[in-house]
């Protein structure tokens, strides 16, 4: 294991992104991914370990001008306990409740779950359904520069994202869903707690007169990155959610999935689960 030379725990965002400007920084927040990954040799520490937990201003969940903004440091427990999210985006609360264990939910941050870029990331699937963007901050020309990237375009491979080494994920932002918006999430695993999803499915849209519009379908652990299944969305868009449409969407979801065989499940089983979950989540959406 490489030896960390320096430990930082900045309280201000500008200090944090300044420290990241030169690269060679490992970002620490909850540590629930970083710790096992470095212990097992999957990842090496850079020269500087920077704890971002104490940066001020990145721990809020706010509704601002029709947009919901969740600071990167908000824990999964914080998402699960948020009254604002329970009212306006309950699919996030639903997913938070199925996330690992209390101990991990208490430590793990939203930003960390996204930057870890697991194809199975439990917070990523509902955020894709909410069409979220991530805010990336960096130090440029003497000031904090921010850019936004659609979450849909953020992931490039398992564990890889478009985030540059000098950029810190500072917030997740999405439009306040319409009143008729309904979304649900489901994941599977043999042990409910602490399970890395074998497969997860999230579906949302505006439910009016038994049909969905503005449909978004996201699937986890069935491709190298969390997946927006646009062809399934097209299958559902504007159609009455009857048994035939639901069946067609389920079949299509199975075809869009490109899962792998690994210790958790075979590709065949994952594909089967995606079909079953698509059907079940659509029924949940219909029942609201």
């Amino acid at each position: 294991m490489s030896d960390v030379q320096n430990y930082l725990s900045p309280h201000r965002l500008d200090d944090a992104v300044k420290a990241m400007a030169g690269g060679d920084t490992t970002v620490l927040c909850g540590g629930t991914d970083l710790s096992p990954q470095t212990d097992s040799g999957l990842r090496e520490y850079a020269g500087t370990l920077m704890n971002i937990r104490r940066i001020e201003g990145l721990s809020g969940i706010d509704l601002i001008d029709g947009q919901i903004r969740i600071g990167a440091l908000v824990t999964v427990t914080g998402i699960g306990n948020s009254q604002l999210l329970d009212e306006l985006a309950p699919v996030l609360v639903e997913a938070a409740d199925q996330f690992a264990s209390d101990q991990i939910r208490n430590a793990a941050s939203l930003g960390g779950n996204i930057c870890n870029a697991s194809p199975a990331g439990d917070m990523i699937i509902p955020l894709l359904v909410l069409d979220a963007v991530v805010e990336l901050s960096s130090w440029r020309q003497g000031t904090v520069h921010t850019r936004q990237v659609s979450l849909d375009e953020f992931f490039t491979a398992p564990g890889k994202t478009v985030r540059q080494e000098n950029e810190l994920l500072t917030a997740v932002i999405f439009d306040q869903p319409a009143e008729s918006f309904v979304a649900h999430f489901r994941k599977s695993g043999p042990r409910p707690a602490l399970e890395i999803a074998t497969v997860s499915v999230g579906i949302g849209g505006r439910l009016e007169n038994g049909s969905l519009s503005g449909v978004r379908v996201a699937m986890g652990a069935v491709a190298p990155t969390p997946l927006r299944a646009r062809s399934v969305e097209a299958t559902l868009e504007g159609k009455t959610l009857d048994a035939e449409t639901i069946r067609a969407a389920a079949v299509d979801a199975g075809e869009q999935a490109t899962p792998i065989d690994d210790v958790r499940a075979s590709a065949w089983y994952r594909r089967h689960l995606v079909c079953v979950f698509t059907e079940e989540v659509l029924n949940d959406v219909l029942e609201n």
Binding site: Y7, L28, G31, T77, D102, Q103, L194
Partner: protein, 155 residues
Amino acid sequence: MKQLISIEINGEVHELAVAPQDSLLHVLREELGLIGTKKGCDTGGCGCCTVQIDGRAVYSCMTYAMSVQGKPVVTIEGITENGQLDPLQQAFIDAGAVQCGYCTCGTIMAARELLATVPDPDESQIRHAIAGNLCRCTGYQKIVDAIKLAAANSA
């Protein structure tokens, strides 16, 4: 490269030198001799190492010791007051919820957060709260009974 830090554990402030990547579990057991907190899987999967930080249950094996500066840590050794067992400790004895005992301390620390927020939990709330704690003897029923008993005795 070690740095000198000051951390508060069970109300006592300790000054010690730790490496930035050292886990809180390592510091508790190897530096401070607080071996009530157990090392099980050391990868956040078994719950034996559960402690409370700012009142919240976390796995000390994946908590960086440096990161708890200024945040009070409570371990199993810190919940006994003036020689009087915590209601959860007494209930685990009374309900016979201890078999090999390896998971007991971590499970009590997880249950402690539950009882602080939900004084009268139902069975599903109890099972949800200790879902991150594995009992290798599979003695869950008596653990659940003990937590119910502790809640009743504290009411």
